[in-house]
Every structure is written in C-alpha cells, then in structure tokens.
Point group: C2
Chain length 461, copies 2
C-alpha cells in the first residue's frame, strides 16, 4: 500500500504551492505554511504535494497521524453506511450522547487506559484537554481544602467577579522548556519559545528546571542522576515557596519527554520521585501525553516506560489519538455536572477513527514494529554523529520518538530544507534539534531509506 | 423529509436511557446527561431517543445543529468518494494545508464575512476561537504601544517566566452575564453561572454591567435608553480605572444577544456607541457570535441587525458554523507566524459540511424562513404571557432566537421536563428563562405545533 520511495519533481515549495500560498495570504498569515498537499494521493508514510512531489514523512502533521495517510482500514470505515450519521450529526456529548457512546469508550479509550485509571473525559484538542485537566485539579484541590463543607457565600459571590476566594490564587507547577498548549491556562505552563508567550497576559505560577541531561543516558548516569536530584529539590522548594506566597500548587504538569522544547528526556526514576513529591505535598500529578502518547515510543504511553503501576493522577492526550481528552483517578472527577463542560465535549466521529486505529495497531503489531524501527533509527543516528562530530550531537530517543542536535539553528534549518528537497520531511524543535516523528507504520526499511538520504545531505553539507 | 410530529413511548429518560446513563456513569460524571439518542433515526427537527421517543427539537444540541438532523445534502456529501480523504487525513492546517483550502475558505467563510472583514482564521471550537481572538487583540495592542521598535530584551526574557513586561498586565473588558467559553482566558470573561467559575484561578479584568432592559423593547424605549446610557458610562469609567491600575483594556468582548446568561438583548444604538467607545480608548472590539451566528436571528450574523458597515474588529464563531474561528480586520492579524497557532487550526472536514450548509441556506431561503417562523414564535409567546401573567413574562427574541421567563427556577425546570414528556425539547438559560434554539429548518407549522403543546403544559400546570 505504501509507495516505494520519494519522488521529487521540483524544489519545495514548488510553483503551485507558491501560487496557493499567495492566494491564502490574502486571507491569513501564511508565514508558517510549508507547502500545499494533495492528501488524496498521499499514502502510508508518503505525503504528496500539489506539485507532484512525493516525500517520506517523518514529521506527520506535527506528530498527529497515527497509521499513515489514507489507511485502507480508515477509508473502509468511511464507506460503511452505518457510520454516516456519526459524521453528519455532531452531538453535544455531555447532555445527549449517542447510544453507542459508552461501548465505544470502553472499546477504544478504556482499552488503553493508563494503569490505575478507569475514567476518561473526551475533549477536542490538546489545549482543551489540558485546560480541563487543570480545572479538574483546581476543583479537586479546593474540595479537599473545604472538606465536608460546601462553597461559602463569599466563594459564590467572589467567583462571579474573578476574585478570591471563589477564584482562588492556586497555581500549576510546570517546567522550563515545557509545552502544554497555547490557550491562556495552558500557555501559563508553556515555556518553550518566546513567540508562543510574548504579549499574552499570564499567571504567576512556579516554573521548575527540567533536567538537562547528557546523552546517551547510559553513559552519563551518575551526572544525570545528580542533575535530576537538583531539579527535584528545586521542585520541592518552589512548592513551599508558592504556598508561602499564598498561591499553593494544586498540580504538577509534565511531559514524559519534552517535545516542542527540544526532545528532553529524563529517567524513570526522576518521574517516579516527582510523582512522590507531588503526593507528599498534596498536589495532583498530571502527565501530558499529547505528543508522546499513541505508540511512538514503542509503548502505547511513554509513561509505561517508568514501570509504575500508579504513574499519575491525570493523563491527557490528543494528536495521534485523533480525539482529545484525559484519563483521571476517581478522586479527580468534578463533584458536580457542568463544572467540566462545553458544547461538544469531543467528537464521536474521531472516536470512530480511533477504534479502528487501535484495531490496526493490534492487528499489525505496530508497537513492536516501532520498537524495531526505533532501534534502527537511534543506531543510525549514533553512527551519523560519530561520523560528523562537529555537526551532530546528542542523538536520543525512545522508540521512533527520536531527536538529534545540529551545530546551530541556521545549519539545522538549512539541513531541514535540503533534506526536504531530497524527499524527506523532518521537523525542528527546541533551539537547534531535529525531531523524528514518523507514523507507527514507519518500518525498518523506511529508516534505512531515510538514513541514506540524510547521510547524503550531511556529506554534501 | 421531516417526521410529522412528536411520538412518545415513555417518559424521558426512558428505561434504555437510564441503563446507558448508569453504564456511562462508571466512566464519567453523567449529571448533565438528559438522555441517549438514536442519531440514525433522527431527522430534520426531530430528535429520536434510544427508547423510541421522537421529539421536536427546539434546543438542537445547545444551538449547534444548523439545518436539522441527517439533512440529505450532508448525507450525500458523505457518499462522494472525492471527500473521503478530507475525513481520513486531518492536516496541520497552519503548515500543510490541502490544495482546496483557499478556495473552500473563499466559497464558505468569506462568502458570509461580516462587513469590513476579509480575513478569517479557522479554529476548532468556540473556546479556542475566543482564546485566540483575545491573543490577537493583546498582540495588536502591544505592537501598537511599541510602534516601530520590536520587543525589548526584557520583553523576551520576562515572557518565558510568565512575568511582565513580556507577559503584560493587559485586560479584556467583559459584561455581567456574559458567556465566552470555559478555558481559563475565556472563563475570565464569562460571568453567567457560579458553577462555571468556582475554584478556577482568574484574571483581575474589568466587568461592566450589561443593560437590563424591559421587554417588549419598543414599549420601554425611554427607560431602556437610560439603562444603556448608564452601562456605557460605566464602561468608560472601567477603561479609565483599569488603565490607571496598570492593566489597560486591550479589547472589549460582547455577545450581540447574551445567550447562556439569560437571553439579554440590547439596542443597535448601544452596540454602535460601545464600538465607538472602544475605538476612542484604543481598545479592539470583539463581537462573539458563537451562539448568535449562523442565521438563527433571521440574518446570518446578529450584528447585522445593527445596520453598521463597521460593526467590529473581530467576530468569532462556532456551533452552527460547525468549524470555529474568527474574522478580523487587517490590523488584528498577528505580525509573525506561530503567534496564533496550534496543531490542527480547525478541521477541513467541518469546512466541507459548512459549504454545503451554506448552499442549503441559500437554496431553501432559510433566513427568510427563520424571520417568518420567528415572528410566529414571538407572537405566540406574547399571547401566552398575556394568558398566564403570573407565570410567564419578558418574552423576547430576534428571528427564532427567542426566550421567555418563568416565575421561578423550580417552575421553569418543571415546565421543561413536562414539555419534554409531551415531545418537545427546550433549553433553560439564565436563572429562570426558557430559550428557544431551533434549527434553521424550523418552519411556521413547527412553531404552531410547539405552541399547542406548550399551551397544553401551561394549562395543566
Ligand atoms: S480548545 Fe480544543 S478544540 Fe477548541
């Protein structure tokens, strides 16, 4: 079903893409547009553009395509007349769910629920998933403070005018380099790039250092453990400091691998200790798997690599899961309806696709494939960085969720463009990293195809 | 294509709905679930539930179904093989748009653009539409303050840690009773119900009184004009006060008719003066048409009733438009890419449906139909409130976007349930209002059908 390799007709963006970009420029800011796509002709790991260029896609729409383009199983689902009404009639799920909603949840999202969690709330994107997870943590925290008594008259009157105690000065602790979304709540916990944050009002919430580890992790375990210990100490200090400031930390949010911030890893030990610190100080622990979830690390959730049977209080997801949402422990469920609510509360048509994606992952053993391709990819990157020591460094990854650093950002950007002109789409992240985000159908031979092209680009650099 | 009337088999929720609610209760909070639906069997203005009850739907999934259930034009669109790939491959629209994206935007959203606006940014729901509209206003405001000079070194370093001047203390002025969404930025401008706000940290932003008018508007024009003048004065005072506080108002956000807050109307004159006040003080003017947009007031946008050719700087939409997003004036476009950005930036499959919905609206003259049905509905409500003076009051509306008040909230809730058991779905809003939110295919005979049933319920009350 896949094409057998890239096929380039023009440099990218080609003339047709350029004309369309000009056209769209009259309607929107097009500064971020790479090129225009022909999604009908795209297949599997290959994205075809409007100039007839066919490229191996190792970025997959910012890591949001689970099983490649136009997977036959998904096309088939579309032709099933029983599914039509799910697409045509989008319900207000929170008040009027369709008959098959509980079954579909059980069959899809609950079948992959993180350890210790049997409750899930669907949402529509990564931002509303995290925003609502934060709200769930705030509500839980205040209810815990109140004990048996309900909200006071002052709570009730003050919240309507944005003031405390009804709108309390609670905070979420996040990490330097984190990315959790761009709506105002999420953005207060995002610290990856200036362009995301500049000019937008924010909250005075604590920001702890994310460990800056040396790679390969195995070779620097002692140094890395020290760095992680330093960061954990800082977390505890900040929790105490913000409590004293009158802005107690209701929850800690963290990515299992920082993605937008530059593919920063930390050890299982770090996360397990962090979760313990959260518990010790009465903070909820929220693991944001929007980018890491869905199988790309070789396990369905990146946090499974920690080997803990109680990894978190909340786990949020989106992207490759097609629907957004979050799992949570029983205690984190809002005590009343309409506290966590919006018009659509997700989209059953995305759940339909997710069910089928999960079937394909199981049927085609894609998690094992990812583990295999990931091993080939990281080994290839190790070889390349040995071959080009002044140019490449810090190869790192889990499954196919890999990255490598380039000398500087200008060189990184140049390499991305050159590689694209040779038929491979990559993404940048952090200051000068290249991130690899293929679909789960990226096989070992795709890895070698990519490595050959990449090597070629580096040689002629 | 429509059924010819309600048909009730059980009280609602019936036994099957109750069983499913119990099942879903193991997974989610189900306090808000009304009943479970059979969307396959639902048609036009009729929603069918899992117990075989067929109800006239005058609430339409919180006002988000534009042309009724399973409209043949939308079903047909689904069977067109050319459209399959749009559903199966959701792109990252901001970087890799599909070939037909500019044309589809021109054909759909731009064909209904508010006066004076030729730019539109798609989003995925009402909340991200408003969050990003606010961000656009903040960015615009700070760029205006900076003039030619770019962000300072201090702007750049401070924003990464949530502090000023990079994350400035800017505010959005909103109104009592407003509803603009539930993510943290939106929620700081929402003031409709305690349950939406309680326990969630917020911003100290100014909140002006929304005029509390007497209805019918024509009969109280002098009193209402006074009330509106009072509110406008307060707006100017708040703008000055918040500037002095060091939290200047970057933008004013308002609904043309406050929906969740209780269907509160104001005059065209009020909005036009408000827009002038915004301009005078250098604030952007954002009209939130998430609930009012899409034709239900008898014009495509509720703000068209103001008769202004320069109604706003930003107009946001979602719900009946199926995609979210906002139109904006050229000046409100972010100066750089990635400032207004997220993974999906909307969903082309929703744009596809929107195109077809607009075709149907034009072909079937639905705006005229709405005006006609709306007149029948409001006249019917006037008659009912004359007939039940102790029970009903303040009938009001534009098009079919109508509401009426009930004596108290307990009575309102009882009437809603009784009416539903007789086969009509209505919604509440505010403290004790009933709101009418039918689809655009709600014809005059549906109005009479509803009025008969409603009258029956009121008689036996
Ligand atoms: S905020 Fe998630 S879809 Fe709008």
């Amino acid at each position: 079903f896949d094409y057998d390799g890239p096929s380039m007709k023009t440099t990218v963006p080609g003339p047709r893409s350029q004309a369309l970009t000009k056209q769209l420029g009259d309607i929107q800011n097009v500064g971020a547009v790479n090129f225009f796509c022909n999604y009908e002709e795209s297949r599997g790991n290959y994205l075809v553009d409007v100039d007839g260029n066919r490229m191996l896609d190792v970025y997959t729409q910012i890591s949001s395509i689970p099983i490649g383009y136009n997977h036959p199983a998904l096309l088939k689902l579309m032709t099933n007349p029983n599914n039509l009404s799910t697409f045509v009639n989008r319900p207000a799920l929170g008040i009027l769910p369709p008959e098959n909603f509980p079954d579909k949840l059980t069959e899809s999202l609950l079948s992959i629920a993180p350890s210790g969690m049997s409750r899930v709330q669907t949402m529509a994107c990564g931002s509303c998933s995290n925003e609502n997870a934060y709200k769930a943590m705030f509500i839980w925290y205040r209810n815990k403070e109140r004990g048996q008594s309900g909200p006071s008259a002052e709570d009730i009157s003050s919240c309507m005018v944005n003031q405390g105690p009804g709108c309390p000065d609670l905070s979420i602790l996040s990490f330097t380099g984190a990315f959790h979304g761009r709506t105002l709540g999420c953005l207060a916990t995002t610290h990856s790039k200036v362009i995301h944050k500049l000019d937008v009002p924010s909250f005075d919430w604590p920001i702890a250092p994310f460990p800056r580890l040396q790679y390969p992790l195995e070779e620097f375990s002692r140094e890395n453990a020290q760095e992680e210990a330093r960061c954990l100490e800082e977390v505890e200090d900040l929790i105490v400091k913000w409590r004293q400031k009158g802005k107690p930390v209701a929850g800690i949010v963290i990515e299992p691998i920082q993605a937008e911030g530059g593919d920063n890893h930390a050890s299982a030990d770090f996360f397990i200790r962090l979760r313990r610190i959260a518990a010790k100080h009465g903070c909820a622990f929220h693991v944001d798997e929007v980018q890491t979830g869905g199988g790309c690390t070789g396990k369905f959730w990146a946090h499974e690599h920690w080997g803990s049977d109680d990894p978190a209080d909340i786990v949020s997801f989106s992207k490759k899961l097609l629907t957004g949402g979050y799992y949570h422990k029983e205690a984190l469920q809002a005590d009343k309806p309409y506290r966590i609510f919006n018009t659509w509360m997700g989209d059953p048509s995305k759940n339909l696709f997710l069910c089928e994606v999960l079937n394909v992952i199981r049927r085609e053993n894609l998690l094992e494939e990812v583990a295999r391709s990931g091993k080939a990819l990281i080994n290839g990157l190790y070889e390349l960085q040995a071959q080009y020591p002044g140019l490449l460094s810090r190869a790192r990854g889990q499954g196919t969720f890999c990255a490598i650093d380039v000398r500087d950002d200008a060189t990184r950007d140049k390499i991305l463009v050159k590689t694209r002109d040779k038929g491979v789409i990559l993404g940048g992240c952090g200051d000068r990293s290249i991130r690899f985000r293929p679909a789960l159908v990226f096989k070992e031979y795709h890895v070698h195809l990519f490595l050959n092209i990449f090597n070629d680009v580096l040689t002629h650099h």
